[in-house]
Symmetry: C2
Subunit: 874 residues, 2 copies
C-alpha cells in the first residue's frame, strides 16, 4: 500500500490528472517535476488515501516508515538531514485537497528548525539574522497552525518589538531582538499547550501532517463543502518539500507570475518580483515589488529562464498559468503552479486568442467551455474604469457590478435619498428582511458580516444589484464608518466592486458595460454548436427591449408581458375604467381604448423582432395591481375624505383585494371573469401584425395563456383566441396558441393541456413558488439565506432550477405533453432561462428554447452551447 | 336489429338490469309486467339504441316497421285501434333514460285523439266532457312539449275560461267551454308552427318519439350531464303505453304510494289517492287527497290489492319503492315504480330494519351501502321539528340543515345584526364575493337564482351553513320580499330547510341534531368491515372537541392544531411577548409562560383520548396572525395616535406582514426562524403526557412537523423534537415523529422525507391550494361557482379530492415513502378526510387513516366501510 509519492514518481499517467490522489498542489508539482523537468525543489506528497485512512482509523500502519523512506531519499538528494545540528535540511509542509477550500490548514515553512539546528543554519549560511528570522517565523506558523495558539499573541510581540526598536519591517530586526522574540514565542507555546515546542524534527513533521489531515474535518471546511456540494470523503494530501529561501540575501527573492495578463487577457506575462523576501512580505505591501517587465533589465538571464518556464507551462496546460517562484541566490525555483483566475474580460479574450495561438490551438468547443456565466455577467455590468484603484478593504464579491454612491447607514434614509435622486451605498452590519426597501433603493450594498449566502448576498444577487459582503474591517459608528485609519461620514462617497469585493474610498469612475469583441466571437461559435438543439429567446415587453435583445442575439421573444403596458400612467385610468365598468357597454368602450394603445405597443415589438417569433402572454396579474391600495385610501378617507372617483376605486380595491394574490384571480382566471379582455388583447395583437404585414414585414405571432390548470380552461381560452382570429378583418394570420405551465397541476396534466396547445412555456418562477410553497416576495428576503446557511436547501431554487422536484415536473410534463402532441414546442420563460446550470438541465430535459432577460442572452447562448457539449444529443 | 321491446318481452334476464337499454321507467315497467305479472297497462319500449342511432344518422331504417308491429300487437291486446274514429286506443309517450335528468321531454298523455277520435272516445265512454277534457290536455301537452309552443298561451286561455265561468277546477268546465278551448288551442298551434295539429295518430306518435329523442341533446340535459359526469352517449328510451283514465269517473282515481314512510322510515305504507283525477291535478293541490290508510275504509278490496302489490314490490326490489297507480272504474293499474327517495333519518332506519326483515334480509354490507353521506349529514344538522310545515315555496336544497332567522336583504346589515346577536336569513337575488362577510354572519342563506353550483351554494356548503338556492318564486322588493301573495318585511322571521329546499314563513321549531339509534348500529357494522383497512380519526384542538369526537367513534386525533391555543385572548399577549422579544432571555421567558398554558390544553386532550393516538401539529400559521392588522393600526396612528405598546406591535406587524402568507413564513419555517418555539411545544406536550401517565392514564403522542419541503428541514426539526424528548425529566415516552405532506415538493420528495418520518399526514387543503395555484380564501368565493358552472373543473377540489393531479401526488408519495420506510404510516387530515368520494380514493391509494371534523366522523366510518366493500383488499 503506497501512501507516499516522490514528486518525480512515475505514476504511469500525467500527475495533473491525479488531483484526487495527490491534491491540486501535489499534482501540479509532480507534473512540473516528472513531466516538464522544471526546477522544483524536491519533495514528496502524502496522498489523500492516507488522510482518509487516518480520519477513519487513526495513523495508518506503515505510514511512518514510508515517510521516513521518502525523507531519507530527499535528504540524500539535497545532501542535508532534516533539522540536523549543522547545515540542516528544512522543509515546507502544505495541505492540498483536490479542490482548494477555505478553512484548510495553511502552509508551515522552515520546518526542522529548533534551538540547535538554528545555529547550524546560521553557520552554514553565515547569516545569523536569516536563521533566527526563519526560526521565529516557524514558531509563529507552527504555534498558530499546528498547535492552535492564537496568532495574535505572536503578532503582538513582534509589533511591540518593532515599536520599541522603531523599525518597520521584520528584516530590520537585529539578531538580539529576534532571539528575545524566539524565547517569548516558545514561552507562549509552552503556556498554551502545556508542552515545550518540539525540538525533534520528526515530531514536528508528524504533528504538522496530522494537523493537515484533521483540518479536513474543520468546521469551516465542512460548511464550505456542504455549500458547494463537495463530498466529505475526499480528504486532503500533504506535500513536504525542501525549503528554498527568497529571504536568503539581496540576490534572492520571491514572485508571482501569470502567463498572460489576468485582468485584460493580453498575451504578455504579468507579475512581480520582491527581492530578499518570503511569501508573506509581498502581501504586507511595505516594499514595492518589481514588475516582471523590468526584470529583463535587472536580471536578464533570470528573465529569460522565467519566460521560458512560463511559455512551457502555458503550452503544456493550454491555459493561463499562475506561478509562484522563488530565487535563492540567483537560482530560480518554481514553487507552485495552477490554472490562473481571471476577470471576465480576460477570460473572453484569452479563450478566443488561444484558438488562434499555434502553441495552444484550443478548439472552439474548448474555448466555449473556458468561459462561465459570472464572467460574462461581469463584463455586462458597469465596472471600475480605473485599473489601479486604492483598495480600502476587500470583502466577498457577492453580486457583480460596480457602484458609486453616498454612504448611507439606514434603509429609511436610503429610500429617502434614492427618492431625491441621490445614489447611495447602503452599509449595514448585516441585512435582514426589514432592510429590503432600503436595499432596493440603494445603488450598491456593503455589509460587514455574512458570506455568499447571507441575506444581503442572496437578495442582491436576486436583483442583480452590486454587493460586497463580509468586509470585516469596516467599523460602523454614529453616522460614519471607519476602515482602518480612514473615516467616511454619511453622505460622503464610496465605491464598491461586487465582482471582486473591492471597497474604495471616494468615487471611482465607472465604465459602462461594453461587451468586448471576443464575446461576440465566442457567442457566434456557441450559436453554431447549439443550433438545432436549444434556441435562445428574450423576455421583453416593449420595442426598445426587443431591439436590445435582438442586438444581443435573441432569436425571438419567449415572453412579452402585457401587464407593463397596463401599468403605464397614461393607460392606468383606462384600465381602471374597465375594472369599474357598471355595464357591458362601458366595459367594451374601455376595452376598445385599450386595444388602440396595446396595438401600438405590439407594433413596436413586432417591428423590432420582424421575422422572429414573438410570444405574447395575455394579461396575468391580479386586477388589484391596477387599483390603489385599500389601506392608503382608508387612511385618506379617515383624514381628508375621498372624492367620488376615489370612493369608487376604494370599493373596487376592496372587492379585488386578495389574501394570497399569487394564488388568486390572475392568469386565465381573469379571462374567465372578464371575458372581453383576452379577446381585446388578441385583436390588438392582430391589428399590429396586420399593420406590420402591410408595411412589408414578416410578423410571427404566438399567443400564450397564463396559469392554466385544466384542459377545459385552456379549451375555453383557446376558443376566445380562435374566435378573435376568425373574426379579425385582416388576412388570416397563422397564430400558434400555447400555455404557460406554471402550476404543479398543469405539469401533471400536461397531456390534457397538450391536446389543446401548440406550445408550452414553463413558468419556472411560479412553478417553484407553488411546488415549494415559497412566496418569492416573502420567503426569499426572509428565509432563503437562513435556509442556505443551514444547508436546508442546496441552492436558491429561484436562481437555479431545483432539478429534484421542479425538474421532475418539467420532465414529466415534457413526456406527457409530447406523447399527446408530438409537434408540441417546449420552452422556459422563468428567470431560470438565463441561468447556466438550469439551461444545462433544460437542454437535457429536451426543451426547445429558453427565454431570459436581454442582458442574459449572451450568457444563455454560451451556456446552451456548453450544455450541448457536455451532453451531446444521441 | 331489434329496437322495440314489448313490456312483456323475455330478455333472458331481469329487465330492471337493462336500464341502459330500456331506460329506468321502461325497465321497471317491463320488470313489473314480465317478472311480477302486476297489472300494468300494456305497451312497448323503444330502446336507447334507437335514440343513439337517430341522433347519429336520423330516423333508423326499419324502426317505423318495428313500431307498427308492436302497435298492432298492442291494439290487438286492447281490442282498439290507435286514434280510431270509434272507441279509439289512446297512449301515453314517456321519455326514460338510464338515469333521470332534468330537461328531458315530459310525458304526453292521451295521444291518439283528434277531432274524429275525440267523438269516438265520448261515445265509447258515454262521457263527452271526459273526452273533450282529455283532448284539450293532449293539445296543451303536445303543443308545448312536442311542438315547442309556450305553455303559457294554453294556460292563459284555460285561466280566462275559468274566470269567465267562475269555476275553479278543470273538471267543472262544461263541454261547450272545453270545445271553445280546443278550437283556441288548435289555432295557437297552427299560428306558432305554421301547420295544423296533426290529425294522423301515426304522425302524432312519430313526432312525439322524435321529440323525446331530441330532448336528450337539450341544453339543460347536456349541462346536467356535464355537471354530474354522465356520458353524453347514453341516449334515452321511449315508452308507449295504453292509457288508463283516473279521470274517467268518481270510481276512478290516481295516487302515489311508498312501501314505507319515506320521511321517518317507519315500516308502514304511505301515500295518497285522489279520486277522479289525472296526474297533474294532484300537484295543483286544489282538492285534498285521501291518505292511504283511509282507503281501507272507503275501498277495502282496492286497499288489499294495493297493499299486496306494495308488499310484492318491496320484497322484489328489496328496498323502499315509490309507486304511481291509477284506478280506472274500480280497476287498479300500476303506472310506474322506482326505488324511492327518502330522508336521512328514514334511510338509516330502513337500512337497519331491512336487515332484520325476513322478506328482504339485507346483509349488513348491503345496509351500509344503502346510506350516503348527505343523508347522515342531514341527521347531524338541526332540522325542522314539525313535520307538516306550510311550504311557502321550494328552492334547491343547497347545503343541509334548517335555520330560522330575521329576514335580511343586505350583507352589511347581516353582519350588524349577527354582531348584535340576532340570527338572520340573508336573502339575495344571487350572491357574489362581496357578500361573503354577510353570508358568514347569517344563520342561513336563501337566493332566488342559481343552481347547486352557484356561488351561494358552493360557499355555504364549504361552511356547512344551511342554504336554499334558486327559489324563483321569491320576489325581492324594498326592505321586503314577496312569496306568492305573502309579504315578509326585513326583520320578520323566515325558516329554511337546506336539505329539502323548503322555505316557510315565520319560525319553525328546530330539533337539535339527534342522531337516530340506527346510525350507531350502522356505524358499528361499518367498523367491523373497515377494521384493519382504514382508521378514522378526528381533527380536534381541545378537550371538549376530543371528547365529542370520541363519542362519535373517532379512533384518535389525526390533527390537533396548536394555533387555536395561541389565539385565545388570554394567551395572545404572551404570544406577542415572544414575537416582540428583544433578547433571547425575553423570548425564553415568554416561551416558558406558553409552555405552561399549552401543557394544560394538551392534558385535557390526552385525557379525552386516553389510550388512543393524538397527533399534535407544531405551530403552523404565519406569525402575523397573532399581531394586529397593519392597516388598522396605521389608521389609528393617523387619527388618535398609538401607545408605545401599539407602536411596537405596529413595527412587528410591518415586519411580519407578507404578500402571500399562505406561501410565507409558516410551518417548519417558523421553527427555523424561532428555534425555541417547537422545542417549547414538545416540552409542554411531554409535560402533559407525563402528568397523564402519573394519573394512571395511557397517553399516546405523535408529533407532526408542518409544511416540510426538504429532507434536511425535516431532519433539523426532528432533531429539535428528539432533543426535547431526550432532555425531558419525565420517563422516556415513545413519540412518533412525522410530517405533513402538503406541498407538491414534499409529495415528490417523499423518499427523502420518509427516511426521517414515522408517518405522513397529507394536508390535502394546502396541497390542493398549491397544486392548483388556488388560494382557497380568494378563489373559492370568487371563482369556484363560475368554474363549476362552465365545466372548467369537474368538482370543487376543496370538497372532493382531485384524483387526477392531487391523487397522483398522493399515490406517488405513498409509493416513494413506503419504498424507503416500509413501516411508514399514512393518513389524511385535510377536510377531504370527511368526504366519502375522497375517502374511497384514500382507501384505494393505500392510506392507513383519515381524520376529519368530529361531526363528520360517523360519515367517514360509513364511507370507509363503503370503500372497502367497493374495492375489497387484494
Amino acid at each position: 500500500m503506497g501512501y507516499v509519492f516522490d514528486l518525480g514518481h512515475d505514476h504511469g499517467r500525467a500527475p495533473r490528472q491525479l488531483k484526487a490522489l495527490l491534491g491540486g498542489k501535489g499534482a501540479n508539482l509532480a507534473e512540473m517535476t516528472s513531466v516538464l523537468g522544471l526546477p522544483v525543489p524536491p519533495g514528496f506528497t502524502i496522498s489523500t488515501a492516507a488522510c482518509r485512512a487516518y480520519l477513519a482509523e487513526g495513523w495508518p500502519d506503515g505510514l511512518s516508515e514510508e515517510i521516513a523512506e521518502h525523507l531519507a531519499t530527499l535528504e540524500r538528494a539535497i545532501g542535508r538531514r532534516l533539522g540536523a545540528a549543522s547545515d540542516p535540511l528544512l522543509v515546507s509542509v502544505r495541505s492540498g485537497a483536490a479542490q482548494s477550500m477555505p478553512g484548510m490548514m495553511d502552509t508551515v515553512l522552515n520546518l526542522g528548525l529548533h534551538d540547535a539546528s538554528v545555529r547550524g543554519l546560521a553557520t552554514a549560511h553565515r547569516d545569523e539574522r536569516f536563521a533566527l528570522d526563519s526560526f521565529r517565523r516557524l514558531l509563529q506558523m507552527y504555534g498558530h497552525i499546528v498547535l492552535g495558539v492564537p496568532d495574535r499573541v505572536f503578532e503582538r510581540d513582534v509589533a511591540a518589538a518593532k515599536a520599541r526598536l522603531g523599525v518597520r519591517s521584520d528584516a530590520e530586526l537585529a539578531p538580539g531582538a529576534l532571539s528575545e522574540l524566539i524565547a517569548g514565542h516558545q514561552a507562549h507555546i509552552e503556556r498554551a499547550t502545556g508542552e515545550p515546542f518540539p525540538a525533534d524534527p520528526g515530531v514536528q513533521l508528524r504533528k504538522a501532517i496530522e494537523a493537515v489531515f484533521s483540518s479536513w474535518e474543520g468546521e469551516r471546511a465542512r460548511a464550505y463543502r456542504e455549500r458547494e456540494q463537495i463530498p466529505h470523503d475526499g480528504g486532503t494530501a500533504v506535500t513536504v518539500q525542501a525549503m528554498v529561501f527568497g529571504n536568503r540575501d539581496a540576490n534572492s527573492g520571491t514572485g508571482v507570475a501569470f502567463t498572460r495578463d489576468p485582468a485584460t487577457g493580453e498575451n504578455r506575462p504579468y507579475g512581480d518580483v520582491l527581492w530578499n523576501a518570503q511569501g508573506d512580505d509581498v502581501v504586507a505591501g511595505i516594499r514595492h515589488p518589481l514588475p516582471l517587465e523590468e526584470l529583463a533589465g535587472k536580471a536578464p538571464q533570470l528573465h529569460v529562464e522565467l519566460m521560458g518556464i512560463l511559455g512551457r507551462l502555458e503550452a503544456h496546460y493550454r491555459d493561463l498559468c499562475d506561478v509562484e517562484f522563488t530565487i535563492e541566490q540567483g537560482r530560480l525555483f518554481v514553487l507552485q503552479t495552477r490554472v490562473g483566475k481571471r476577470t471576465g474580460r480576460a477570460a473572453l479574450r484569452m479563450a478566443v486568442e488561444m484558438v488562434d495561438d499555434p502553441a495552444i490551438a484550443l478548439s472552439r468547443a474548448e474555448a466555449i467551455q473556458r468561459v462561465n456565466a459570472d464572467q460574462i455577467d461581469g463584463v455586462l455590468h458597469p465596472q471600475f474604469a480605473e485599473r489601479d484603484v486604492v483598495v480600502a478593504t476587500r470583502g466577498l464579491g457577492a453580486s457583480p457590478g460596480a457602484a458609486v454612491g453616498a454612504l448611507c447607514l439606514s434603509p429609511e434614509r436610503a429610500v429617502e435619498a434614492a427618492a431625491a435622486g441621490t445614489a447611495v451605498i447602503l452599509v449595514r452590519d448585516e441585512t435582514s428582511p426589514e432592510d429590503v426597501a432600503g436595499m432596493l433603493a440603494a445603488a450598491g450594498i456593503l455589509t460587514r458580516r455574512g458570506g455568499l449566502v447571507s441575506h444581503a448576498a442572496v437578495v442582491a444577487r436576486g436583483w442583480g444589484k452590486p454587493a460586497v459582503v463580509g468586509a470585516e474591517r469596516v467599523e460602523i459608528g454614529e453616522a460614519m464608518i471607519r476602515i482602518g485609519d480612514a473615516t467616511v461620514h454619511e453622505g460622503e462617497l464610496l465605491s464598491i466592486d461586487g465582482a471582486t469585493g473591492v471597497v474604495v474610498l471616494g468615487a471611482v469612475a465607472l465604465a459602462a458595460a461594453e461587451p468586448p469583441e471576443a464575446l461576440a466571437t465566442l457567442c457566434a461559435w456557441a450559436d453554431q454548436i447549439r443550433a438545432g438543439h436549444l434556441e435562445v429567446r428574450a423576455n421583453a415587453d416593449n420595442g426598445a427591449d426587443a431591439a436590445l435583445a435582438r442586438s444581443l442575439g435573441a432569436e425571438g421573444i419567449g415572453l412579452c408581458r402585457t401587464e407593463h403596458m397596463f401599468l403605464d400612467p397614461d393607460r392606468l385610468p383606462v384600465v381602471r375604467k374597465m375594472i369599474l365598468a357598471d355595464s357591458e357597454e362601458e366595459e367594451a368602450a374601455a376595452l376598445d381604448e385599450l386595444r388602440e394603445v396595446q396595438r401600438a405597443d405590439f407594433a413596436a415589438i413586432l417591428e423590432a423582432m420582424d421575422g422572429l417569433p414573438v410570444t405574447v402572454r395575455l394579461l396575468d396579474p391580479p386586477l388589484h395591481e391596477f387599483l390603489p391600495d385599500v389601506a392608503s385610501l382608508d387612511l385618506k378617507a379617515a383624514i381628508e375624505g375621498l372624492s367620488a372617483e376615489e370612493e369608487r376605486l376604494l370599493e373596487a380595491a376592496r372587492t379585488w383585494k386578495e389574501q394570497n394574490p399569487m394564488l388568486g384571480t390572475r392568469g386565465v382566471r381573469l379571462g374567465v371573469v372578464k371575458p372581453g379582455l383576452y379577446a381585446m388583447q388578441v385583436r390588438a395583437l392582430l391589428d399590429a401584425a396586420e399593420e406590420r404585414r402591410a408595411a412589408g414585414g414578416r410578423p410571427i405571432v404566438e399567443v400564450m395563456i397564463p396559469l392554466t390548470v385544466t384542459g377545459e380552461e385552456l379549451a375555453l381560452a383557446r376558443s376566445w383566441v380562435e374566435d378573435a382570429i376568425a373574426e379579425h378583418p385582416g388576412g388570416q394570420l397563422e397564430v400558434a396558441i400555447g400555455t404557460m405551465v406554471e402550476t404543479p397541476r398543469a405539469a401533471l396534466k400536461a397531456d390534457e393541456l397538450a391536446a389543446r396547445a401548440d406550445f408550452f412555456s414553463f413558468g419556472t418562477n411560479d412553478l417553484t413558488q407553488m411546488t415549494f410553497g415559497f412566496s418569492r416576495d416573502d420567503v426569499e428576503a426572509r428565509m432563503m439565506s437562513l435556509y442556505l446557511e443551514r444547508g436546508l436547501i442546496p441552492a436558491n431554487p429561484f436562481h437555479t432550477i431545483d432539478q429534484d422536484a421542479i425538474g421532475e415536473l418539467i420532465r414529466l410534463a415534457a413526456t406527457r405533453g409530447r406523447a399527446v402532441n408530438a409537434a408540441l414546442k417546449l420552452g422556459v420563460c422563468g428567470e431560470h432561462g438565463g441561468d447556466p446550470a438550469s439551461i444545462d438541465f433544460f437542454y437535457r430535459a429536451g426543451l426547445d428554447y429558453v427565454s431570459c432577460s436581454p442582458y442574459r442572452v449572451p450568457i444563455a447562448r454560451l451556456a446552451a452551447a456548453q450544455a450541448v457539449l457536455a451532453t451531446p444529443a444521441p
